[in-house]
Amino acid sequence: MNFISDPVAFIADLLAKLLFRIGLSQIQVTVVSEFIGAFLLGVFGFSLVIFTIWLERKLYGRIQDRIGPNRVGPWGIFQTFPDMIKIFTKEYITPVGADKIVYNLAPILSVSAVLLTWAVIPFAPTIVGTDLNVGVIYLMAVGSIGALGIILAGWSSNNKYSLIGAFRAVAQVVSYEVPMILALLIPVLLGQSMGVNSLVYAQKVWFIFLAPVAAFIFFTSCMAETGRAPFDLLEAESEIVAGYQTEYSGLKFGMFYVGEFLHAFTISALVATLFLGGWRGPWAQQVPILGVAWFFMKTFLVYFVVVLIRISMPRLRIDQMLNFNWKFLTPLALVMLIVTAFVEKGFLLISPDLGLTDSALPWVRAGVHLFSNLVVVLITIQILKSHRIKAVRVVAKPRPVAVAPEPPASVIS
């Protein structure tokens, strides 16, 4: 272990030795270093948001044929700092009749729920907050706390629009958790573990090749969990002002804002970890710091797709969104789970007889899974085609398009 290849573990080791020298017991050293680690992870998450807010606004601008933030610093990269200072100076307004404790608790819950996710994400083989053996379920548990924050924010504001936003949040966030969990079970099945880091170790071939459908379902339902376009019905400004965050001002609004951006980045990190191989890449095992680079390259790639979808898609209607979830994603996820389980078991039974070499085995397995996924996709497309809207129901007689009245004779002549 040296400083160049694995700085984080090196510094942690150094710090532990130093604390030990001072005279702390082993348990105290562990507690202190874990607190420092958690603090640094939180600070890192928030600093990352400062960057991603700028990145997203810049991309937003470019795609809409604008320049985007361009005044503060080179390419406007420090634009977020003046925005932050501005939001710090704003007044806190608490609406009359608001439930004060709940009202103030809600933004904290919704940010901390997102930040808690980072505890189990492995940045590199050795750089991981805590390698829980139930990491995947932990992700679900933490996600549900975020939903709680949104609901409480909507209810405690004593505002009808906020309450409608909260109702939509329950309908959306809670129901999209179903396909999300089902899709998450597929990597668990393939990797035969629920620890996030061991799932990364299991991805000799990235899971996106083994389970593209699961990756799609997971990505889509994660997008819905973040509550951003095209799933931003929680705060649809043309319908319900700003939804659950209508009554929040100043830093409390800022927390929701930061939470949303952090959440968008977090789902990118999750997709990269669970389906794109996380820190896996050339020489990542020997030089852990390279793993961090691979991880962030993949994460930013996914994040770019997230931003692209947010910018280019129109908002769905609430019934379309729920139909999409319950009538398409959930059945597809269930079918995919069953198919994957059978294919995996069948492959495990047959594979000893095939006489494959150790290096070829994962690739053959990936091929078999990819084929089964393709079959399911083709069947799904056929079923969808048979249900497509064949003709628009005519509810009234066609009326002529507005025709300009005949000009008076004097004009013609």
């Binding site: 548990a141 709680l148 573990s193």
Partner: protein
């Protein structure tokens, strides 16, 4: 007193206070929030017992699903959210008696139980424990029958919910 005991006592106190507040709070949403705190306290107990899986499942199922549904149901009843009437009726002594009897029964069982003095069995490694749990849930000579019965019960509940909520075809 070890650190673990201090944590246990603090969490136990918080859980009990939250549990009492569930029934004494006049605001239904506050009751639901206290309930969430109680359930979170139970999750911490699971962590203290070295059962991380149950802790996480507790949070997913009870806080993530059940408590949120409670809050959702309560939010739909805005008018009666503030309960102003008396908090107990004339049969309060009966409830107290039953609760006391139940407590006495549980206490009696626990005083005769040898498990307090016995040393905890040697733990397998965490993932091994999970595998064992999963296998014993589906092996016929262990808990297959209760497991399947619970599943049937849940399916029955689901069908009932769909029947109640679904449109009646004339």
């Amino acid at each position: 007193m070890t650190a673990q005991q201090i944590i246990f006592l603090v969490v136990a106190a918080v859980t009990l206070i939250a549990g009492i507040s569930v029934v004494t709070s006049r605001n239904l949403i506050h009751s639901a929030l206290w309930l969430i705190l109680t359930l979170a306290g139970v999750a911490v107990f699971y962590v203290l017992l070295n059962a991380g899986f149950f802790a996480v499942i507790q949070v997913v199922v009870y806080i993530g699903a059940i408590a949120i549904l409670f809050i959702f149901a309560v939010m739909l009843t805005r008018r009666v959210m503030q309960d102003t009437g008396p908090q107990s009726n004339s049969y309060w002594w009966l409830g107290a008696l039953i609760a006391l009897l139940l407590f006495a029964g549980i206490a009696l069982i626990f005083t005769n139980w040898q498990g307090f003095k016995a040393l905890p069995p040697v733990m397998l490694d965490q993932s091994g424990k999970l595998v064992q749990l999963g296998l014993s849930l589906v092996s016929p000579d262990k808990y297959l029958l209760p497991f399947e019965l619970a599943s049937v019960l849940l399916v029955a509940g689901m069908i009932g919910a769909i029947y109640v909520a679904g449109e009646k075809k004339q």
